[in-house]
Symmetry: C2
Amino acid sequence: MADLDQLRAALGDIPVITDPAKVQLKSRDFYWYSPVLKRQLERVCADLVVEPRDEAEVIRALGACHRQRVPVTVRGGGTGNYGQAMPLKGGVVLDLSRLDHIIEIDLGWVRAQAGAKLAQIDRACQEHSRQELRLHPSTLKMGTIGGFVAGGSSGVGSIGWGILRDRGNILAVRVVTMEAQPRVLELEGDAIQQVNHAYGTNGVITEVEMPLAPAHAWVDLILGFADFTTAVRFADALARQDALTKKLITALAAPIAELYFRPFKSRIPDGTHAVLLMIAEPWLPAFRDFVKAWPGKSCSSVRRATPSARRCRSSSCPGTIPPCTRSESTRPSPIFRCTTRHPITCTARCTCTSASVTRSWRISSSYASMGRSPAWDCRSCASRPRSASMRSSAITRITAARSSTRTPSPSRKAA
Amino acid sequence: MADLDQLRAALGDIPVITDPAKVQLKSRDFYWYSPVLKRQLERVCADLVVEPRDEAEVIRALGACHRQRVPVTVRGGGTGNYGQAMPLKGGVVLDLSRLDHIIEIDLGWVRAQAGAKLAQIDRACQEHSRQELRLHPSTLKMGTIGGFVAGGSSGVGSIGWGILRDRGNILAVRVVTMEAQPRVLELEGDAIQQVNHAYGTNGVITEVEMPLAPAHAWVDLILGFADFTTAVRFADALARQDALTKKLITALAAPIAELYFRPFKSRIPDGTHAVLLMIAEPWLPAFRDFVKAWPGKSCSSVRRATPSARRCRSSSCPGTIPPCTRSESTRPSPIFRCTTRHPITCTARCTCTSASVTRSWRISSSYASMGRSPAWDCRSCASRPRSASMRSSAITRITAARSSTRTPSPSRKAA
């Protein structure tokens, strides 16, 4: 048997957990989803949990365990369903959750330590440059990037980017081997596949470099079909629309949707086959016209994945229209005239109003400077969300007045 | 016949060109590519060129021409090959090149006036948020966005995004009709197809909203194949790699490549069938391994579309490595130790060195702060391209020293 006292001495100041309750907690994943695994694995427990704070400590821990012949089970977020993070032979659980630095973000890629959580990486990439990971498992909030790769999952996003093992969905991994003198391997290209979906059994992933995609404002939709074959054909046809930016297409035969997605039950008629969708907001008009060619759809339900401001597509609208918290009455669309000679017509609708109510906006910058979005006031609620970002010298107050050369209102389709 | 004097009076202060030489120049496109069209169209000439400065002037000009029964031919960059911008019946050439404002840029889309040049839009989007248009015609520098849509072209980028008429490759267009009282139409969804590829014959496009894609550092490659069928099969297989970010795949039967792409003639052996490629830089390792499965490729030639700095994939490298202008001798990869307890190994290779030479870097920020890229010095050339962007208080000078807990060098594949 392994000498755990000698191991602890060799680990030195590397943090460890010995409290039996905590060790047992860290010896568990979601294996109990399976009644078979629950029976087989419920007594599995590590002797010790080791929590390295950096790669050097991972190397020291692996070297020490190798010398003491102590088995090592690698743990990320512990969100696996098949006992992947459970120490079948006891020994050490190597918990990588302290290795959670995001090392670098650039256009199209992020490099993070293995213990960084997927949601944490997404937040950092969104703040950095409005990017996000290409693929999102259902364990987004708890799962780590190292565990995601070691587990070989894919999930939301696969409809556009393929699955995790497709060439290009992992850009590089850094791996520490378990041997007397552990080696550090930097793998890229096809060499990555050696550790992808290997559960850490042939090396401990310490860093991962993943591709990024634009973090669009995704709109969630559920479409209902009376016939499952039509639902699948629709899903297949939509998947082949290369130009229509989407993140999820999932066809579900009845009664899966109505039974499983309880919060939406009222919107999904009994017996309806559902297609779950995530479409990027700017492509919604194209998507709506695509859907028209599909008879048989029975219901639709929309909510916003990202509570983004709605954008007015009218050409002279000063830009994005944030939700207004004040109620307002119906107003005719006025025609503005700025200090230069351009009439400005704005027929923007605010998200706070019903589809039949339009709001008017006071333009507080000249049309000539519209290379940048001008500052503007909502005449109803007087909000000025954009003015702060403009240099005050660039703002010229313009009095709203009806133009003598009235431009006909652009024809707008009902939202 | 139309009364041109009355027309000019109605146009008022809208700029016009009457000089016969200039009018003839603006009555031409690249029709002469075709010997047939050259014979048929070489005497075609407008009576007048009108150059509106904004949409209101477009409306006035179209209304006046309608009342005077003067035919109108719409002109963007004049890069068409089939006489689309030529006034077959004389009258007015409506030159939209003064409508060149970029109205707004956001994640995934840009809205611009019709006369904005494609290259100008790309520059603005790259500066704004490292984005670019999805599709690029060969007339990128001279072509306008309105002319691109009215001409219905596609070009580079189609391998990923499809062609211009695919749903989602044009998000919205604003069109002015030609009638006594011109109307302004804002079209989105399938309604856009009414003016896409219609050459301005059923309305004058004044604004276009186009989808954007990430402006990756594209690497241009030419692969050679002894057999054309293999070249095409390779192109087809690569096109289906969803995760491998690419912008161009063009298979050319011999002798097209060697005859047409003269600057690369020396790199393309006679009789070689070529596949032209643009691959995003972070996906090059994946691409290189994809290519390995294709026997029969005979040559390859690489140049960079964007002279981007090469990135070191070593985990502890402080980041992007710009080209060094100073020569240097071979140096062993040292191991650094920062003020915290992290050994830092850097085996980065600089673009200025041969593949067998490595360079070392002096880290001037603690590893603990590597959530942001630390400042660093190249020990050979002392360049510090990143330090300017860091707050000086965050910079702590660290003396390079060999670590006592030496981390083995990561194994790196030859570039």
